[in-house]
Symmetry: C2
Subunit: 92 residues, 2 copies
């Protein structure tokens, strides 16, 4: 799958990301990858649920993966912190 | 799977739920279900990642499911709200 079909969830309103997913599918994408880290993980689930239940009922969840990423320390000499990640693959 | 092996994620510190999972596995559980709703979904992923990476590397993720639950309105005559859910099944 091309990485260009990834939607990275940040701090914007859920509907922005829902629209991004719908636009990708309407543009012919067969798969869309919804990715998030840390506190945005809950929002990633919200985005997927709204896409499937309100807009594109034919879209299925192909795979859900979770993991951990190590973030570089914020200041020099600090300790790196771990952050959880999620990746939800949707297919049309 | 028995529902008694469910760990419901709320607003306590992550380590409380990590300990609950470890206790269930040490007590002989073959599967543990980590469940969360709304903003706690991110924390559910944190709990699973800490259990697997720091304490029980033999534990595998069997299944991850997401969904939507309708919550009753807070006041009479209000509209019901939707909340996203996650359920992560771990197996030993």
């Amino acid at each position: 799958m091309s990485e260009s079909n990834a939607v990275l969830i940040g701090r914007k309103p859920v509907m922005n990301y829902v629209l991004a997913c719908i636009t990708l599918f309407h543009g012919g994408a067969k798969e869309v990858n919804v990715k998030a880290r840390g506190r945005s993980i809950s929002q990633a689930v919200d985005v997927v649920e709204v896409v499937r239940r309100r807009f594109l009922p034919d879209v299925k969840i192909k795979k859900i993966g979770i993991g951990t990423e190590q973030m570089a320390p914020r200041e020099e000499g600090g300790t790196p912190t771990n952050v959880s990640t999620i990746e939800i693959t949707l297919e049309h």
